[in-house]
Amino acid sequence: MHAHAFDQYQAQNSRIHRLDPRVKLLIAVGYILSNALLPDGSWAAFALAWLALLVATDLSQLGLAFTLKRSVVALPFALVAVSAIFSPVGEPLAEWDLGFVTLAPTDVGVIRFFSILVRSWLSVQMAILLVATTQFPDLIHAFEHLRVPRSLTTIIAFLYRYLFVLVDEVYRMLRARDARSAGLPGQKHGGKLLWRVKVTGSMAGQLFLRSYERSERIYNAMVSRGYTGHFRTLNPHDLNRRDWQVLILALVLIAMIQVTGRL
């Protein structure tokens, strides 16, 4: 019912979509790793990395602004890095006396702050592109090929499968709570804070029990249908020549970005 609110996959038949999920995962992680390795203030390398991202987004036929639009999710966290501006090393650029404390932004600090922001922004966009062009079950399958323990990948697969079911359950519970604690708009309604907490806690407990009992039913149903402890996929995953070519090309590109950052 709410599946579309969660699933980030954008169906297309582009070159990027057709790549092997393992290749996409490796390239995405390599790209993020490369961003983390670039020194502060290597703007040319950051620009090159952004260009590479834009090319990949273009190839995926999702529209150039696609990842850009969704990249705001990580923005609130930027607040954390603001204090890096007032780094103790470097030349002070100004001095602001706030009464109780004097703040002095430094050149090193400002460069550091913007570098952190750019790194994070590029990395988030790459992750968005990865999940937008790869179906989640394929992604899990890629994890399995990359030696993530099978029990863990199976748990993640179950989480993904039942997330929508349980979220619907939550929506039903929230609707029931709202229906039972109706009130006139603008007027105080519902009990005291402690009562609200108790209601919410009982809902969490109720949800837990329903999930627990559901998992027992699921397991029994699966065993009776021949579940042997792991999932199978209908999508064959074989690395063909094109996958290797793209992987090598991407690695060369990442190496070039690194070299640019250190010139």
């Binding site: 090193v108 990395s123 993640i156 997330l163 407990g205 559901r214």
Partner: protein, 314 residues
């Protein structure tokens, strides 16, 4: 639906490579232990249970209650998962939750996922289960109170560790990030504690068979109590030091050689680890990271062995 990123999910770019790799190593060890532990004791049947429980934690994070002035209390769930399912299963469940949050919602990064899993899944399980295990079989009131305190402390410890990771990465100033993170999470933690207590009380009333003494004690041995207490005491000791006297902690870090305040952030926690042949290149950073990771690997294997020996279930 609106899904707001919680301040504990660190995005990529905010931690440096060494810190990211060190916490990846720690997380891989703990999750690997958890996988082998749960495989041994729980078997096939437990996989669907843990998967659905992970979906439960995810969905339960959407439950909120209005507090005041437009803000609302939220639920993180790490301590509850560890208390109800046992620590190893709790770690696996939270690992799955954090992974899917990062992959589906970009709530938390990929390279820093190790740190995020460690903060929100492993640390909360150690504190949540360790403290609750201490009072397993005691009176109901005492158990619920301890569960609440454990949930609050787990939230605070996760916030503290996140703050320290950000500081060690050179992303932020210690004297700003620690009080800010602890201040915000002191409130979030109260909501967490109250919901955890209410949820456990409800489960005990409805399905008392799920929370018996044998169930809680068979989930993990006495080693968890020790680990939980040690981590809690560490967190309690570091927080006031870090928030009231940040210069003190920075001084300590500098004296030990932890902190090389300045631009070459990747070398901060291993400043003496310079490889003359490699110089200050990316390769040298990776090697430094791998060395740091190996050290943590070794330590954790020792701890893990110890835990296993002490646990009476083996």
């Amino acid at each position: 639906m609106n899904f707001s990123p919680a301040p504990l999910h660190i995005p990529d770019g905010f931690l440096n490579l060494v810190i990211s790799l060190v916490f990846w190593a720690a997380t891989i060890i703990m999750v690997g232990l958890a996988v082998s532990k749960t495989n041994k004791t729980l078997g096939d049947k437990q996989i669907p249970l843990m998967g659905v429980m992970a979906a439960f934690i995810f969905a339960a994070q959407m439950l909120n209650f209005p507090v005041a002035g437009g803000t609302s209390g939220h639920f993180l769930g790490g301590a509850l998962a560890a208390i109800v399912l046992g620590p190893w299963a709790g770690i696996l469940v939270m690992t799955a939750v954090v992974t899917v949050q990062a992959l589906l919602f970009q709530d938390g990064g990929l390279l820093v996922m190790g740190a995020n899993i460690f903060n929100m899944g492993i640390l909360t399980a150690v504190i949540g289960f360790g403290l609750y295990r201490m009072v397993a079989g005691q009176k109901r009131g005492l158990r619920l109170a301890v569960a609440g305190i454990a949930a609050w402390l787990a939230t605070m410890a996760a916030a503290l560790l996140t703050a320290l990771q950000l500081w060690l990465s050179g992303t932020t100033r210690l004297e700003i990030v620690v009080p800010a993170m602890l201040g915000v999470h002191a409130l979030i933690g109260i909501g967490e504690a109250l919901i955890t207590v209410a949820a456990i009380a409800f489960i005990e009333q409805t399905r008392p068979d799920l929370l018996t003494e044998e169930k809680s004690t068979s989930g993990g041995g006495r080693g968890w109590v020790v680990a939980g207490l040690v981590v809690t005491i560490l967190a309690v000791l570091i927080s006031p030091l870090a928030s009231a006297n940040p210069d003190g902690l920075e001084r300590v870090a500098e004296d030990i050689g932890f902190l090389d305040t300045g631009q070459d952030a990747p070398f901060q926690i291993l400043p003496d680890y310079t490889i003359p042949v490699l110089g200050e290149t990316g390769l040298s950073t990776i090697v430094a990271g791998v060395v740091g990771a190996l050290v943590v690997f070794g330590l954790l294997i020792l701890v893990g062995r110890n835990l296993r020996r002490k646990s009476p279930t083996d």
